[in-house]
């Protein structure tokens, strides 16, 4: 019998990376040992100057272990290996290069060398340190192309050459050309502003929470959207996977980062998901909302791999993946994520699925299609089982309804979820992210820092 039970997996790489100093006296001492200090700047779009990324989010996710076993800004050899085989130098699989990039001017001003310790401030306050092991130059455009693949090199899933219409490509293209590689350590843990504070479950805390709740099996729902009832059914029904019984828990993990115009505000996204459990559509005993900081790269199969890593590190046993997972445009095959997790993508270094290669993942994929209302069944029906004509709900139809100020019926969006949308609409003067929200968010960020 015990062979049927799925156990909570170890973190990717075997142990959780935790590089956060909580002791202020120790932190002050470390801060004093810095050779130079640098204020973290947002990465600006290489053409328009609009913020597209903030490396602070990567530092947070690395130091709190979401990206275990990554410990810092990657060295040149590691970036090359990730681009070629999607593996770190220690063999563990990983999809994206993660680097601390600065301009030539800033490098000259800092005058740092390998072996130096660089202090990093955020919003003017000490935040973290970077112990520099290597300094090298990159070509951001080349990095951008190589990160996402191209139709010649990756014919299994890449359908179209990447360009500036792809927000992830833009992020890498907008990197500065000099890289400081080495481990990060947070020496002054930032405080999340409400409402984000109550959703902050870094991997150690998430695992402790699962233990406390008696959740052995947990399925993750990736989101950057306000949940409509189709999402709710996806979560409830996908949770029927598991082992000898349905998954004990559903973890909603919202990716919080740079926004695109037209997205829902992050504040509305997390509170709307919370409303799903607060008002009993899914019992709070079975449903937990959490966040991870990351500026989405929209790399479809590659992004799904990162999602798998993050949620395995948080202690999940299963992960839902939908069609067009974390995709934008038609750069990748619609089912690229499913291809990765069921067959593998050899040109990306996966002759087999990421769960079946050495130094791979333990989290199990659960590939899902969609739910929509069937007037014949008179219920939300699954696209692959209901044989009737269903009333499909397109995102733009729902957004149009919301923008018009018409409350969607509760079979489309729960009234409590809609109330959350309106609450933040009143706050920001807009139901979706407008230019003002996008710019302000990157100025204010999700956190504040105290003096050290």
């Amino acid at each position: 019998m015990s062979g049927l039970l799925i156990e909570r997996p170890l973190p990717h790489g075997g142990r959780l990376v935790e590089r956060v100093i909580e002791d202020k006296a120790v932190a002050r001492k470390i801060w004093k040992s810095c050779n130079a200090v640098y204020e973290i700047k947002p990465t600006l779009h290489y053409e328009t100057g609009v913020p597209v990324r903030n490396v602070y989010r990567e530092i947070m996710s690395i130091c709190y272990g979401f990206f275990s076993p990554v410990e810092g800004s990657m060295k040149q050899a590691e970036v090359e290996r990730v681009l070629k085989e999607r593996r770190l130098l220690n063999e563990w699989i990983f999809p994206y290069p993660l680097i601390f990039d600065i301009s030539k001017d800033d490098l000259n001003k800092l005058g740092v060398e390998p072996g130096d310790r660089l202090g990093l401030t955020l919003k003017g306050k000490p935040f973290a340190i970077l112990d520099i092991e290597e300094i090298y130059e990159i070509d951001p455009e080349e990095l951008a192309y190589k990160t996402f693949g191209d139709p010649e090199t990756n014919p299994e899933v890449v359908q179209q050459k990447f360009d500036k219409k792809h927000p992830g490509w833009v992020i890498y293209r907008s990197h500065q050309p000099w890289v400081l590689a080495g481990k990060y350590t947070i020496i002054n843990p930032p405080k999340f502003k409400p409402p984000f504070d109550r959703f902050w479950f870094p991997p150690r805390k998430a695992r402790e929470e699962f233990e406390k709740r008696g959740w052995r099996t947990v399925i993750n729902h990736q989101t950057r959207n306000v949940p409509h009832v189709g999402h709710e059914f996806l979560m409830k029904c996908a949770a029927f996977t598991g082992d000898v019984e349905p998954c004990h828990g559903i973890l909603v993990n919202a990716v919080i980062g740079v926004k695109r115009r037209g997205d829902y505000p992050d504040e509305a996204i997390v509170e709307a998901h919370e409303a799903v459990n607060k008002y009993g559509y899914i019992k709070p005993e079975r449903h937990l909302v959490s966040i991870v900081l990351w500026d989405m790269r929209y790399g479809n199969p590659l992004e799904s791999l990162l999602h798998g890593i993050i949620r395995q590190n948080m202690g999940c046993t299963h992960h839902m993946f939908g069609r067009d997972h974390a995709a934008v445009g038609e750069y990748y095959d619609k089912f690229a994520t499913q291809i990765l997790w069921t067959k593998g993508i050899p040109s990306f270094g996966f002759p087999a699925p990421p769960t079946d290669v050495p130094y791979g993942l333990k989290i199990r994929p659960q590939n899902m299609r969609e739910f929509s209302y069937c007037p014949t069944c008179k219920e939300m029906a699954y696209s692959e089982t209901c044989g009737h004509k269903r009333e499909k709900l397109s995102g733009s139809f729902l957004r149009g309804m919301v923008a018009e100020g018409v409350q969607p019926p509760s079979i489309i969006m729960r009234p409590e979820v809609y109330k959350v949308v309106v609450k933040w609409w009143k706050q920001f003067g807009y139901p979706f992210c407008n230019e003002k929200y996008v710019i302000n968010k990157e100025k204010e960020l999700e956190v504040d820092l105290e003096d050290l």
């Binding site: 018409v406 409350q407 969607p408 489309i412």
Partner: protein, 118 residues
């Protein structure tokens, strides 16, 4: 092809619709939970909408969509005012085109939130 525009109805709008005699024309979706009216649009009005609003398009059923929110709000107001679903409704909207365009220009930065009960 017959063209039309969809007017979505929530409880607020249903209340305003009472007494217009249009209730019997209400159509239902999602098991009766989504109520809507279809406003008739003739060829000439369709062309005018497409010419005036560059985002506007006609879908495969002949529904005109993706016009500014200000247009859609005024469309409902005109339905109530004219107590009709005929072409005079869209004519009434287009009579206020300058005002709608002015509001549409601000729509990318501000949209008035609906009044809902807390």
């Amino acid at each position: 092809m017959a063209y039309f525009m969809v007017v979505l109805l929530d409880d607020n709008r249903m209340a305003k619709l009472r007494g217009t005699g249009l209730e019997e024309h209400i159509k239902y979706m999602f098991g009766g939970e989504l109520r809507l009216l279809e406003v008739e649009v003739n060829e000439e009005l369709k062309d005018k909408i497409l010419a005036e609003f560059e985002t506007a398009r006609v879908d495969s059923r002949g529904a005109i969509t993706d016009v500014p929110v200000a247009f859609m709000r005024e469309l409902f107001n005109q339905v109530v005012e004219k107590k009709s679903l005929g072409p005079e409704v869209v004519e009434g909207v287009l009579a206020k085109i300058a005002e709608i365009k002015e509001m549409a220009a601000k729509e990318s930065e501000y949209l008035p939130p609906p009044e809902i009960q807390e």
